[in-house]
Symmetry: C2
Subunit: 250 residues, 2 copies
């Protein structure tokens, strides 16, 4: 008897994180991973575990989350794609599905990831942007924030911007390849590309950078915070709804 | 005894129409007008009627709705602004408040209005854009749509794009000053500026234009539809959630 070989499928996902308790399956909670697994189970009849590139927190959005799963189904990539989407709730979709080699792992094979943190800087909040931006109605110096971002680009020990997740991180050194500060009218976007991120690192980097923009943290103080490599020195952790996982590169 | 003179206040509003049964007060329904009136009543103790520039339908959004109301309150413009916003739900805000002359009327004094109809044209729907765009996953010719928009610009009898609201319109002639078709990645925007709009006119114009973009209506047929000036000939009425009242000019 020939045992049917399992296929490894890579999917790209977009979701509105507002009504999800994050990516990761949790008992009794509505999660993105749980929704995708339930849909796959209905579609294939198999019990499938879906592994995501990034375990986004409750409220965090994604335009380009990547995940993989192992399946025995013979459905084509396109049928899988359309089948899952027909079964998923409206706040999550699979943008693409492709069969990949067995060695592909959504988390471990990732070379770099891009996150965007969006801030609404107008004095008055925006109902049309409230779900995907953090309202911070203060005057910010874009030039100072860009200087601060330049300080953070490169390989550094980012321990000052980590949050304790219960387990000690093996290494807190990461490389930021790109850190752009872009403002268009009231919308400020902090775009960070790195080879990896510590838990809550983007939200703490964003919180620190906007304090630089407000003049509360000087460039010297920022360098000092980075150098101290201790999570008690970094700036505040901004709320999750401003954060979006934009892209994962392999 | 000197009778205290009432003040006329002009406000500009933004709202996410998703969870409103439209602008206009209706018994037992959650409406924008009703929410603003309730907040003003709490703030001033007066029973205030708020008149909007456009009575947007259920699900329609606004970035620049304008309204006016008459009040005896002595609160400053800024205190009124902050007071109303503190009392309003999160999906509606007052962006500005200013005292105007008695002759100002939000609807009758309006010289022109701008609406934007947004379409998500990607094959797969977008959870992050689903509340503010209509998903129409088809290949569209932007050039043809721009030609069609040019046909509609100017003073015309737009009866073919009206919907019966129960009462006959006095005149169905309107002037479109601007009709832009802009596409950026998957987001297609139809921006229409006119001296006034018939009921559901923007949504029917948008429905007709995208049928031109798909090749279902030719330029000759479009001219014929316009010329016939009869609402049975115009294209379909697109759903409300793609529509946004952008601006009112006085």
């Amino acid at each position: 008897m020939i045992k049917s070989k399992k296929r490894n499928i890579k999917i790209k996902l977009e979701y509105d994180g507002t009504e999800f308790a994050g990516w990761q399956v949790q008992p009794e909670m509505r999660t993105v991973q749980g929704s995708v697994e339930t849909s796959l189970n209905k579609l294939t009849g198999e019990k499938i575990r879906v592994i995501g590139a990034g375990r986004t927190d409750a409220g965090v959005h994604a335009k380009g989350q990547v995940a993989h799963f192992s399946t025995s189904t013979r459905l084509t990539e396109n049928t899988l794609l359309r089948g899952i989407n027909a079964l998923l709730p409206k706040d999550v979709v699979v943008l693409s599905a492709e069969e990949v080699t067995d060695t592909f792992h959504a988390r471990f094979s990732a070379v770099k990831k891009t996150y965007c943190y969006s801030v609404w800087t107008a004095k008055i909040s925006s109902p049309l942007h409230r779900r995907i931006t953090f309202h911070y109605p203060h005057v910010l110096s874009i030039t100072e924030m860009q200087k601060a971002a330049a300080v953070l680009v490169g390989s550094h020990d980012f321990a000052s911007f980590a949050s304790n997740r219960g387990k000690p991180e093996a290494s807190t050194v990461r490389e930021i390849m790109r850190f752009d500060i872009i403002k268009a009218d009231s919308l400020l976007r902090l775009i960070i590309e790195a080879d990896g991120f510590l838990y809550k690192m983007v939200r703490r980097l964003a919180g620190t950078i906007i304090e630089v923009g407000r003049g509360k943290i000087s460039m010297e103080e920022l360098k000092d915070i980075l150098m101290k490599a201790n999570r008690k020195y970094g700036g505040p952790n901004l709320p999750p709804h401003g954060l979006c996982l934009e892209k994962v590169v392999y």
